[in-house]
Symmetry: C2
Subunit: 299 residues, 2 copies
């Protein structure tokens, strides 16, 4: 019998921010029977399910908290801000107390955006406008901002024109920051396009977190050496999706799965070497399960 060679990325633990958020949530659940989270605390459905069983309830909007409060249940409400952060303006407006699990690296980007916004820069956020981190940053940026996803959008970008454009925009001072879990190559492509625009000043902060960068480069290194690559993590996880995309660029035989159940026998068939990489919010036990699944296929 031939055994498939399995190479697991050395960057396969929860990232610092995810681990910290889970620890805070665990403590909160020890003290309280129910804790509300604005959206999933991290982007891994399996981990979120575990926390749901312990009493973590997910709501989609802060307004739901206001509704509960209106029903006189305010004393029982423990609100938790997930690791991706939310716009503090939303909380301030609604005067809601909260338990904060926002990743300190996301908080750093929030501080940079707040500072740039005060200085009158037009802010470009590189990322996905539907992602909670980006929505939080957009809330802080005020009115003068735009979210750009890729090179194509960057090429088409123009400063808002006409009478409705605020005076600051006329100064043409652009600032560029990135979602912490963006792809480095995509960020550089976008900056490179923006550099060609008409501006007086351009400030750019590469705010992609080191864990995302290391995870991507290590996964790509493995993808180069193996016949097939498995990326494990939430389908709603930005860093996992980008990890899968980065690996696929190098190795066409890449699949993105959430759990071992998603893994097809056909995919494993005849592969002499398989690489495994995980997202920042993928629980470490997921690797063990996938390895077992590959080993069962060997028999």
């Amino acid at each position: 019998m031939r055994r498939t060679e399995i190479i697991v990325s050395s960057h396969s633990d929860f990232c610092f921010g995810v681990q910290r958020a889970l620890n805070i949530a665990k403590e909160a659940l020890k003290k309280n029977r129910i804790v509300y989270s604005v959206g999933p605390i991290i982007h891994n459905p399996q981990v979120v399910s575990e926390f749901s069983r312990e009493g973590l309830k997910i709501i989609n909007d802060v307004k739901e908290i206001c509704a509960l409060r209106a029903k006189g249940k305010s004393k029982k409400i423990n609100l938790l801000i997930p690791s991706h952060g939310i716009s503090p303006e939303v909380l301030r407006k609604n005067r809601i107390a909260f338990i904060d699990t926002t990743c300190p690296l996301v908080e750093r980007v929030q501080r940079i955006v707040r500072d740039l916004s005060r200085k009158g820069y037009f802010i470009i956020i590189v990322g996905d406008k539907k992602h909670p981190e980006v929505r939080g940053l957009a809330g802080i940026a005020g009115k003068n901002f735009r979210v750009l996803k890729n090179k194509r959008e960057a090429k088409a970008f123009n400063f808002p024109q006409g009478a409705s454009a605020p005076a600051e925009k006329k100064l043409k001072r652009i600032a560029l920051i990135s979602q912490t879990t963006a792809s480095v190559s995509n960020f550089k492509e976008i900056l490179s396009e923006i550099a060609k625009k008409d501006f007086k000043e351009l400030v750019s902060f590469n705010t992609i977190c080191k864990n995302t960068i290391d995870r991507q480069s290590e996964a790509q290194r493995i993808a180069r050496r193996v016949e097939a690559m498995i990326v494990i993590g939430g389908k709603n996880s930005a860093n996992t999706s980008k990890l899968a995309k980065a690996c696929r660029k190098i190795n066409k035989n890449t699949c993105h799965i959430e759990t071992r159940e998603d893994l097809k026998t056909e995919f494993l068939k005849g592969k002499k070497s398989i690489g495994i990489a995980t997202g920042a919010s993928t629980p470490p036990y997921a690797i063990k399960e996938v390895v077992e699944r590959i080993r069962r296929n060997d028999i």
Copy 2:
């Protein structure tokens, strides 16, 4: 007889900085018999010749002043800093008093460079390392700087590595500024290349002066409409050389001349329309002379 159509650029006066420098020099020559200038006061040999006749002497290095001073002639020395500025460090070191004609827009770039250098940025100066303005900026930048001329040099650029690299460089904070008389498209190409590098922070100031930008775009607009283009100005003038290059990109029939004497009859032969553009340091009478030369050809 057919008359050649002549279109003269509406941006054909001395720029503000050049006019100001000449006014200051005139005043200084009224008060003193001899004034020394470190390099040509502006980059137009014909204008410099006129001032030489009035008593303006050009020296190549501040050291020549020190030599004169050593001979006991210090009381008679009136030193003039030309419009492109020089590194103030050179003057400070030699404790030399001076009359300053540095263009206020160049001074602004000097202030930006001084500020960036203090904050520990690695400074990239877009320009020609032999140009007095760039040499002045380099003197202010300290040790952590590099002058880049074109896209090719920008592509090859890397942060200095190894033990000899100062600690600040490890932070990978890059700042980019430009010689005030650079080409806008070249500046953008260089920035676009630098944007692809590995950095934490990139700050870029488009310090090309508005007069340079307007002069280039107006000359290019004319070059598109005419059969031939004449660019008048010093061969040692950065903005004039770039003006000629920008016109040549659009109209192959472009020639760069200093005076009407450089104009060949062959070049004028059979041309139905000719455009004229001048550099920021070209005296307005040069246009009149060239127009007369074209008209003589018409007869």
